[in-house]
């Protein structure tokens, strides 16, 4: 009897405290973002800090890859529902497309556009209204293990003054025992090949070509683009400077193990696949005039039940949240008020290297949609079959997809 009474009292206590919480108005916000494992570890302090500052708001985190999220959201939006109150995606084109359909909340005035890296937020301004903000991002950059070059008495890639010097160094790397190929190739869905292509366009094509391809004013089949691919990329592929595609984790681990001399990856690799020796280094190619930066973006679906709280969280994530998140390494803030001292040493080094060059937005992320899928897939084909004939067909497919996607986005 006594035990039953105790149980009843305990149950009543739980119920009363539950009612108490409800009375205090605790709101649970559902969040979807792509981070898991180490990347999520780096993001958790941001959420903890927000909850500390806002005791009335709890955040429920769920991992969702951008491609899966886009598929789920389209179905949910069609019945005016949303699986989350705040969502992070790397597909900026998706936000713009859904904003035009009225599925995204207008967040005008939430942040000051001038506080962000140029070009990182403008795309979300539609008819003077703002529909999304940038999150942290990463840079497409050539990475290498500095220890490998020291051990083999070779100069580091950052010391190559000309393209010819760089190729000569890669030829020497090829001869080092145990090396599979001078440059590693990432597998998976194929985005790592776009990193190579974007870096080459930034190096040999220049800003006009890069921006032209981004907005569709220059064709992927134009003579100057074809020339760049034929004269710069194709000889490297034909000369087997690039290795067989491997999963991203495997290719970076193999680079640390001395099986590749270089890998065109992203700055997040330093976080996801850290070098055992801590000798992570990056370089610009000789003559590289700009660098591509991809970012994630936050948006609030129009069907959230807690727009006020979601907006509060979004403001935090886009400002103070970025300052906290970069401390975990591997990420670069788009919010320009984040001090350099917030970054770990490796990222401070990267920021100094890129300080001298322009930063361009990521082509396949910005155009998005069909173009992104086609670009990833077609470049995999070019890597597997690097002939002039295949190159023409690959560029034709990419151009057709670019026209179709940009036409759809403009509607």
């Amino acid at each position: 009897m006594n035990r039953t009474l105790k149980r009843a009292l305990a149950a009543a206590l739980v119920a009363v405290s539950g009612l108490g919480l409800a009375a205090q108005g605790v709101v649970t916000l559902r969040m979807i973002a792509p981070w898991a494992d180490k990347e999520l570890e780096g993001f958790k302090p941001v959420l903890e800090r927000f909850e500390q500052l806002n005791p009335g708001i709890k955040v429920e985190y769920r991992t969702g890859k951008p491609e899966d999220t886009a598929t789920i959201l389209s179905a949910q939006f069609s019945v005016k529902k949303t699986p989350a109150d705040i969502i992070d995606t790397s597909f900026s084109a998706f936000i713009v497309q859904e904003a035009r359909k009225g599925n995204i909340l207008d967040i005008s005035g939430a942040v000051d556009i001038k506080d962000y890296r140029p070009g990182s937020i403008d795309q979300f301004v539609i008819g003077r209204k703002l529909y999304g903000v940038t999150s942290i991002g990463g840079l497409d950059i050539a990475e290498y293990n500095a220890k490998f070059y020291r051990d083999n008495k070779l100069p580091e890639p950052k010391d190559a003054k000309t393209w010819e010097d760089f190729l000569a160094l890669m030829d020497k790397v090829r001869k080092v025992p145990g090396v599979k190929a001078p440059i590693g190739t990432g597998g998976g869905v194929g985005w790592t090949n776009t990193t190579v292509v974007q870096t080459f366009i930034n190096t040999f094509g220049g800003k006009a070509m890069y921006n032209g391809l981004l907005v569709g004013s220059i064709s992927w089949e134009s003579p100057e683009v074809k020339k760049l691919f034929r004269e710069r990329l194709l000889p490297l592929l034909q000369g087997k400077y690039f290795g067989e595609p491997e999963e991203n984790a495997a290719v970076t681990q193999n680079m640390w193990a001395g099986k590749y001399g270089l890998f065109f990856g992203g700055t997040t690799d330093s976080l996801k696949f850290p070098s055992p020796a801590g000798d992570y280094s990056v370089c610009l190619l000789p003559g590289q005039k700009a660098i591509s930066m991809w970012t994630d973006f936050w948006f609030i679906p129009a069907y959230t039940e807690h727009p006020k709280e979601a907006l509060k969280l979004m403001k935090f994530l886009a400002t103070e949240g970025q300052a906290i998140q970069v401390k975990g390494g591997g990420r670069i803030a788009t919010y320009t008020k984040v001090p350099l001292s917030n970054y770990p040493a490796a990222e401070q080094k990267i920021l100094k290297i890129i300080g001298s060059v322009a930063v361009n937005p990521d082509i396949d992320d910005i155009i998005g949609g069909k173009f992104q899928t086609v670009m990833w897939d077609q470049l995999k084909l070019l890597w597997a079959d690097p002939t002039a004939d295949t190159l023409d067909s690959v560029l034709a497919e990419m151009q057709a997809a670019s026209v179709e996607t940009l036409k759809g986005s403009a509607k």
């Binding site: 389209s74 194929g190 069909k370 897939d377």
Partner: protein, 328 residues
């Protein structure tokens, strides 16, 4: 022994059985046929409703969607979505087909899949069934062959990625061991081998199904037929060719229909391993349908592909039904 009217012996004074092939004439005032009809309706209705809501409606809706614009889903465009499918290179890449250089397009890839997968999985399944029926004490071996059917396609796809990977994969290393260096590659990275790798994986998963169907059919062959063959002096091959194989015809029909449907609608394996690449070399109709509808949000085009898949899959089904009717 039956308890009512029928050809067997009956208890009590029942009506005399009718000669074979003759039906009892309907009698005026007999309420039985009408009651039977009502009962039949009651039993059929739930299934009919389920089939209508979850099968017929989606099929009709999908067919209608394929005739409407991708832009708003409201403007009638007739067969324009179908025509657009064949104008691009995703479904049929005529230029590459003529040069015999992959990617060939999703539809030819499906046909290649059927041409390799169907005979391979069926003959392997039959061979396994013939072997297993002789080894009743080693029945657990059947589980090993059938286990491929139990693994989800997405998991199979991920496992396959490693199986055909140059560094750690068993298949490329096997070819390396026997000196065929041309196949000591990452199979999924090359347009010439990506589709073949998927087909071989699919054979592994589907052989178990053929084996089970053939095992059931072989077990049903009366021993007396085989004994009669032996008395007539037939050897093992002749027993198989002239006694067993003709009796397996209906099982073969079932396997062909089920396999072709699986081969045409396959999606999960491609999605989780190659994503249709490189350059569409391992793309199939089911995956292209997913891309169009759920990635590019072109529901009209996606529905047009779904309709094409249904029509293509209907061919073996109709042939099999006709064949069964003829046999009956």
């Amino acid at each position: 022994m039956s308890l009512g009217a029928g050809p067997g012996p009956s208890i009590g004074p029942g009506p005399a059985p009718l000669p074979a092939g003759r039906r009892e004439p309907a009698r005026a005032g007999n309420p039985r046929p009408r009651r039977l009809k009502a009962e039949t309706l009651v039993f059929v209705l739930p299934a009919f409703l389920l089939v209508s809501v979850f099968l017929l409606y989606p099929v009709v809706k999908s067919l209608l969607l394929s005739l409407y614009s991708n832009e708003d889903g409201k403007s009638f465009v007739g067969l324009a979505n179908f025509a657009a499918l064949f104008r691009g290179r995703d479904i049929v890449n005529l230029r590459n087909i003529l040069r015999l250089r992959p990617p060939f397009g999703a539809l030819p890839n499906n046909l290649i899949w059927i041409a390799i997968h169907l005979p391979l999985s069926m003959s392997l399944g039959l061979a396994c069934a013939l072997l297993m029926i002789r080894l009743p004490r080693l029945a657990f071996l059947r589980t090993f062959v059938f286990v491929g059917m139990l693994v989800p396609g997405v998991v199979t796809g991920i496992v396959t990625l490693f199986l055909f990977e140059k560094g750690a994969g068993m298949i490329p290393n096997l070819f390396h061991l026997i000196g065929i260096e041309g196949l000591y590659i990452n199979w999924f990275s090359h347009p010439q081998t990506a589709l073949l790798a998927l087909i071989l994986t699919s054979v592994w998963t589907w052989t178990g199904y053929s084996m089970v169907v053939f095992l059931a059919a072989l077990s049903g062959i009366p021993q007396s037929y085989l004994e009669a063959g032996i008395v007539d002096g037939a050897n093992a091959w002749q027993l198989f060719r002239y006694v067993k194989l003709p009796l397996l015809r209906s099982s073969i029909g079932t396997i062909v229909v089920m396999s072709v449907i699986q081969e045409l609608t396959g999606f999960d394996l491609v999605y989780s391993s190659t994503y249709g690449g490189p350059g569409g070399a391992s793309n199939v109709m089911g995956f292209q349908m997913y891309l169009e509808a759920f990635k590019y949000f072109k529901f009209g085009t996606g529905s047009a592909i779904a309709t094409l898949i249904t029509l293509t899959a209907a061919v073996p089904i109709v042939l099999n039904v006709r064949n069964s009717a003829r046999q009956a």
